[in-house]
């Protein structure tokens, strides 16, 4: 060991029998080049939705534990079918559930985090020259309950396995053939990048570039897993995610993204006392609600307004918890805004450049768009804007930063 390649195929790549056979062919081609193959797959196209439908007919709010028991069958079907497709090509193969692959998670059903991977079974199967097919998106708790990893779960499974097996490469196959400077369906001039740094990819991923989930990018960066994003429908080269290019000193805007899956909650008129914000966000964290942007400001009544954004799925829970919080502190008022989007630009060296920020704000101003919240990092600026303007804004910003024509070779 080690000549291991981990590949991950998403639900679209596993959409039907024909696609599954294509995937099988691709895997065997890699195997025949002398690689040891570990393949992580998602549930077939709409399996997950049809399982959710079945559950709804029976219980409108089933426990997360039983939802995981139900949904994990989706990937189990996929691994068995892919293994069968590979068998029919005459190759030795074995399919493994998350549990059988040694993917141990915490108990947080429906959005479990991987605690540990015990790759001994995978290594054993590879030693007997088998292609190993692993169910993505799922794991098992130390006390033996099936969990699912939530959004981006299969990507995360793949990267974690690549790290645990010290794989030489982790290839994420999806329905787009790489990472673009913006969403090609909305910005026709979006350019594919040959390479991008972990940090940039992480920001792009966090900002709604749906090609890779931030969890998986973060994990890849932490364990230094060489990552490639490719299409399973063609043989195009894809995008490599690499370490930061250190001799790159000039500001380089790499991408523009829109995240539509967000909402804003404002807890208005909370007392201006130490620890108030802490208590709110502690409570949200204890309930596993991921917060994105946070703004707090003293209003004209000398009390604080705390605003935060979160993903739409968490909106109901976030609202409930914010209301509980108001009850506890005997004050404050919860306001919801769910018609917002987050527009972001990402690139190395943004932090120091006032020019970049002012060009972004200026472009939005010209479009008559009101910026409701702003957050910045070393390599990104995000703005919360109303949703009806966001697609147009993304195109205009893409052009403003000359991404339409950019040589995206690096």
């Amino acid at each position: 060991m080690n000549n291991i390649i981990v590949q991950k195929y998403g639900g679209t790549s596993m959409g039907d029998a024909k696609r599954i056979k294509n995937v099988a062919n691709r895997i065997v081609k890699y195997k025949n080049k002398g690689n040891k193959m570990v393949v992580v797959v998602s549930a077939m196209g709409n399996t997950t939705n049809s399982l959710i439908e079945k559950a709804k007919e029976i219980n409108t709010s089933p426990s997360s534990r039983e939802m995981d028991m139900l949904l994990s069958t989706g990937e189990q079907i996929s691994i068995a079918l892919l293994a069968m497709a590979i068998e029919s090509l005459g190759e030795k193969v074995v399919s493994l559930t998350g549990a059988m692959s040694g993917i141990y998670t915490d108990q947080n059903h429906k959005k479990a985090r991987i605690n540990r991977i015990d790759p001994s079974r995978i290594f054993n199967e590879l030693k007997s020259d088998k292609i190993v097919i692993v169910a993505g998106f799922q794991g098992i708790t130390f006390d033996g309950n099936i969990t699912t990893l939530g959004r981006g779960g299969s990507d995360t499974s793949s990267v974690a396995i690549a790290a645990a097996t010290n794989a030489k490469l982790c290839e994420i196959y999806t329905d787009v053939d790489g990472v673009y400077s913006s969403d090609p369906r909305k910005v026709p001039k979006a350019q594919k990048m040959k390479e991008i740094s972990y940090d940039e990819m992480l920001e792009l991923a966090k900002l709604g570039a749906s090609v890779l989930h931030p969890r998986s990018v973060e994990l890849a960066r932490r364990h230094n897993v060489p990552l490639v994003v490719k299409s399973s429908f063609n043989d195009n080269e894809g995008t490599k995610i690499i370490e930061v290019n250190t001799n790159m000193e000039k500001v380089l805007i790499r991408g523009v993204t829109i995240d539509k899956n967000i909402a804003r909650i404002t807890v208005a008129n909370v007392p201006d006392k130490p620890g108030v914000a802490f208590k709110l966000f502690k409570k949200l964290a204890d309930n596993n609600i991921n917060i994105d942007m946070i703004i707090q400001n003293l209003n004209h009544e000398n009390s604080n307004d705390i605003s935060y954004t979160l993903s739409l799925e968490d909106l109901e829970n976030g609202k409930e918890i914010s209301n509980e919080f108001c009850k506890e502190i005997e004050g404050g008022k919860v306001l919801i805004k769910d018609n917002v989007n987050k527009l972001s630009i990402v690139g190395t060296g943004i932090a120091g450049s006032a020019e970049v920020a002012s060009k972004l704000f200026g472009t939005l101003y010209e479009l008559g768009i009101n910026i409701e919240m702003i957050s910045t990092s070393e390599i990104k600026i995000s703005c919360i804007i109303e949703d009806n303007m966001s697609d147009n804004a993304m195109q205009k910003v893409h052009s403003a930063f000359k991404l339409d024509k950019l040589e995206m070779s690096n």
Copy 2:
């Protein structure tokens, strides 16, 4: 412990959301009477078939190991949905796969046998006052591969769990409300029995009375598990399977069955030497082919004809192995007959009664039916006949033994 009741619900009982809710209601009713409930379920109605269809699109002869990986999802979906239905009634519940339930089997994929049950997890869940839902039909090997138990698997899971947990009762819910003297769809005058002995039930089950699989009856007898067969669609009393009623000395024919799922293989003209039959049946046994009736007779050429019956699914394999056998002994010829049925009568004390046999053979003779093979046991007589006559024969035999009007109270 012990106030445990094990219930088993088949695929028809779990056919759709409404039926699953009915099952949930029934379980909770039992729980509320103070029982600890362990419930074993099969895959929903046609799930298994649609999974098999999916597999066929990809590989016409997938490995048994991967078929088990695929098919076991059927029960996993069932347990999750039933658990959700019970949750919605406000009861504590947990679903467990075969592996999680501690059902350890041999490695014989697609028809694995249970080696051991470790009920510790089931006991733990019962202790925390939960209803425990177990996936039937499946288990796990000691080295961690998912297996399925083959025909009658869920019944067998239930009885095995009832034995391992020392349950006070094992109820098998199905779409008929008990054990009848013959198939009620074909013999309208068939009578339901209130009680039947393990031995009689075992013979009836072996002979194609599809209500209970012989494996499960055998297991129940061995471990003295109190068994009841009932319908999940009504509250009728069902049939109790009990120990032999020892003071029952007169001949009592309990039922007439037809098994259509059989075929006959004849290996003709094999040398009349010791060990020849042994070698053939050893070879068949080594390949996990279950043989039912065997007849060997010296033919006019002073060589032997060996005939045996087996289930239709095993016909292809049986044929292949018999051909291999002929090659090895450099002789013999394999003849196949797949248009045969097995008609049987079952009842205590048949063995001693020439009257019973002659009445059976006479009835068939009157119908002009040729008997191709005969086998007898303490409590049954079976005849292989051509399939086109068998339904009619069953009705006539049922009447001949006065089962139409019998008081079947015991």
